[in-house]
């Protein structure tokens, strides 16, 4: 009798490890960590054995060997004798280029579509709806291939190039050609004027706010800022005697020479990614605007705030709080989706170091490590920015 009492009030340690609430959580965690470590030990051990068996180590020294392949779009100096790490940098820059260009275009188109989707005009409303549904329900890879097919198959060869704007823009199946601006030294003055304009705007914004807080007087901050940032440099540009020349593309032999060229792969990837992401952004914008209750507008009007300032002081700040988190994840998506470039031969980071370099050197582990690490770095940076932004914008309740 006494024995059963002690065992029920003071059960064995083994029993408590699994049935005592506090101890059980320790047990579970220890087991989890043990399993994780065992798993990693297992795969790393296997990797070492397997690599040894075929005589490969794990080293990044191959990055300094000559790459022996050409890349069709390079923003920095690169040729086939350049080392692999340089190929990786070229790829990284190409990824960033298409991502940034895509983010800009998709934001513009997306906001436009989102606003049109809320339009009271039935026709445009339906057209945008059909567009959004079509785009969102078809894989992005298909969009990329389709746009690439259109650019390559339906645009004319350079000899019969489609000309636009008096011979300044040529559309061909080898790419889009535009004049390339060549800057003269006096361009520095324009750049300095621009920096001064930005600095003035920052100071003026603070000054206008101080005056408004003190006296209630409102300056037209937007117009004065635009004048300082845009008009001032333009005036300096003219005063400096138009310090810019253009190098025009010219048809030589079978292709254009000179000028700025957007390659068909870049154009196809850029347009496809932007138009695809724009449909998602449109839905985000629509949801964001709809999330602000009509009472907010009415309250602002009741306080006698002008409609334009109601928009900029009441509606947009609140809508942005809803819009920005999903928007930033769309920006991350566009960056990640740019890896599909490999399907149409645009040389991004996956196609260079994770594609050709990998196949030439046979260093799967190292190449994939680099690619994964770069993408992880992108996404962690965007996440960090988002957390900072969310903290800044969070509604403080109670």
């Amino acid at each position: 009798m006494a024995a059963t009492e002690t065992s029920s009030s003071n059960p064995s340690l083994f029993y408590r490890l699994f049935f005592d609430k506090e101890l059980r959580s320790v047990t579970i965690q220890v087991i989890t960590m043990a399993l994780i470590f065992a798993f990693f030990f297992f795969i790393v051990n296997n990797a070492i054995t397997n690599l040894e068996a075929i005589g490969k180590g794990y080293s990044f020294s191959f990055l300094w060997d000559a790459s022996n392949y050409d890349i069709n779009q390079t923003l920095i100096e690169y040729n086939s004798r350049s080392p692999h790490w340089r190929a990786a940098v070229v790829g990284l820059i190409n990824t960033l280029l298409v991502a940034v260009a895509g983010i800009i275009l998709s934001t513009i188109v997306g906001f436009l579509l989102g606003v049109l989707r809320l339009s009271s005009n039935w026709l445009i409303n339906r057209v945008v709806y059909v567009y959004i549904e079509y785009v969102r329900n078809v894989p992005v890879l298909l969009h990329i291939l389709l746009v690439h097919g259109i650019v390559v198959n339906t645009l004319p060869i350079p000899k019969n190039a489609l000309m636009a704007f008096e011979g300044t823009l040529f559309l061909t199946n080898r790419g889009f050609y535009t004049p390339k601006p060549l800057f003269e030294p006096a361009m520095w003055a324009v750049l300095i004027a621009f920096v001064i304009g930005v600095g003035f705007t920052i100071w003026f914004k603070g000054y206008a706010k101080k005056i408004q807080d003190a006296t209630g007087k409102i300056y037209p901050v937007l117009w004065i800022s635009l004048g300082a940032i845009l008009l001032f440099p333009i005036i300096v540009f003219f005063l400096a005697g138009l310090p810019v020349n253009f190098e025009y593309p010219e048809l030589k032999g079978f292709n254009f020479k000179g000028g700025l060229v957007l390659r068909p792969e870049f154009v196809a990837l850029w347009l496809a990614l932007s138009l695809y992401t724009a449909a998602f952004i449109a839905e985000i914008v629509r949801a964001g605007i709809q999330a602000i209750s009509h009472g907010q507008t009415e309250a602002a009007f009741a306080l006698g705030i002008k409609p334009s300032r109601t928009m900029s002081l009441v509606i947009i700040p609140q809508a942005l709080r809803v819009i920005i988190p999903p928007l930033s994840s769309q920006y991350l998506n566009i960056t990640k989706n740019s890896s599909l470039a490999i399907a149409i031969g645009y040389m991004d980071i996956v196609a260079t170091i994770g594609g050709i370099s990998l196949n030439q050197t046979g260093r799967e582990m190292e190449c994939m490590t680099i690619v994964l690490a770069i993408y992880l770095a992108f996404s962690l940076m965007i996440s960090a920015f988002m957390n900072w932004y969310n903290k800044r914008m969070k509604l403080v309740e109670r």
């Binding site: 965690q29 989890t32 005009n121 026709l123 329900n137 389709l146 097919g149 690619v371 993408y375 996404s379």
Partner: protein
């Protein structure tokens, strides 16, 4: 007497509304021409549609050739009929079987058809409430994946078919459905782990989710196709399709986990406190109180993730599996049909549109069904 009243004194009958306010005219005035901006938008939109739609319809229907033996044949037929060559759908018609079944042996294709019917039958009791025999139906739904797996792979009395014969729409369905079925439970577990009070468990879940969400699916598929063999004991071989299935499932599980975490965080803390005060244990309160509500909130996000996963199945062509897109591009190598890529892309796009759009519609239906507010 012509002035006989049909109504009482002081009660004039209601006049009909002005003809400009009702009917078609009223609708057009209100929806298309309500202001100057609206008139401009309407005119521009009509012009835009006029530019875009007729050529598209011509290409798809009026100038299209539906039966021919080669691309030149298509062109000849279009020329004989006196119009430009539109879509050459004959190509799709001739290759239809390979689009659907891939390289699956011709005499075994009944197995794919049967599996497809079984899959639909298994989905009905899961998706809809008011169907006859729902209870036994659900048991069938549980068993169906195993039956379908046996039918497709063979063995045990059926001719075995290696997975490299899988292709076409059947491959899309295999990857998509496996991913969807597999990722939901894993995603729920990860979401609960991330919300757990045990730091070690939480850390593992966070690391996993953030890693997967931080890299593109295509790099994970590359890892699966090039690196995974290094991580396995020497001498083991691992089916490529199986590796892809695992990667796709884990990939979408991480996204599902984040969606469900959103649902969990949206629940008021009072719900879990109430469950605790009722004396429910962790799993009981999760199963009975928390998850039903959290999952209900997250339905749109979950379905969106499923649609994303389903669309992402096209990426397998990059590592050399042949989904419909891959099949189409491979067929283009045939000199008879060269240059017809647009037809393939449009055809595959229609297939994806139909399946994804129905998923989105079902999610709307589900939201409405589970809506308990007022």
């Amino acid at each position: 007497m012509s002035t006989e009243r049909s109504h009482a004194v002081g009660e004039h009958p209601e006049l009909p509304p002005p003809s400009t306010e009702v009917g078609i005219i009223g609708w057009v005035r209100h929806n298309l021409l309500s202001s100057t901006t609206n008139i401009v938008i309407t005119v521009l939109t009509i012009y835009f549609l006029y530019i875009i739609v007729p050529p598209m319809l011509n290409w798809i229907f009026f100038d299209a050739v539906f039966s021919a033996d080669s691309r030149d044949d298509c062109r000849a037929i279009a020329k004989a009929a006196g119009h430009e060559m539109g879509a050459c759908w004959a190509f799709i018609g001739k290759r239809f079987e390979i689009f659907v079944y891939g390289f699956y042996p011709a005499e075994e294709r009944w197995r794919i058809n049967l599996s497809f019917i079984l899959m639909l039958a298994a989905l009905v009791p899961v998706l809809f409430d008011h169907v006859p025999f729902r209870k036994p139906g659900l048991w069938f739904s549980l068993a169906a994946p195993f039956i379908i797996g046996w039918l497709l792979l063979g063995g045990m009395g059926l001719e075995p078919v290696p997975t490299d014969k899988f292709g076409g729409f059947m491959l899309t369905l295999v990857i998509g459905v496996t991913g969807i079925v597999g990722s939901l439970p894993i995603g729920i577990a990860l979401a609960l782990g991330r919300q757990s009070h045990m730091p070690a468990l939480r850390m593992v879940c966070v690391a996993f989710i953030e890693f997967i969400r931080g890299v593109p699916l295509i790099t994970l598929l590359f890892v699966a196709s090039t690196m995974l063999n290094y991580f396995l004991p020497p001498g083991t071989t691992f089916d490529l399709l199986l590796r892809v299935l695992i990667m796709v499932t884990l990939f979408s599980a991480a996204y599902i986990a984040e969606v469900i975490r959103g649902g969990l965080q949206a629940l008021p803390k009072g719900q879990i406190e109430a469950a605790d005060s009722m004396g429910l244990k962790y799993w009981q309160s999760m199963r009975l109180i928390i998850l039903p509500q959290a999952l209900k909130i997250s339905i749109p996000g979950i379905v969106n993730t499923f649609i994303g996963l389903y669309k992402d199945t096209t990426l397998v062509i990059i590592i050399g599996l042949f989904d419909p897109l891959g099949m189409g591009r491979a067929s283009l190598a045939d000199t008879k049909w060269q240059g017809l890529s647009t037809e393939i892309y449009v055809f595959v796009a229609i297939f994806f549109f139909v399946s994804c759009f129905s998923m989105a519609r079902y999610s709307l239906y589900l939201e409405k069904k589970l809506y308990t507010g007022h």
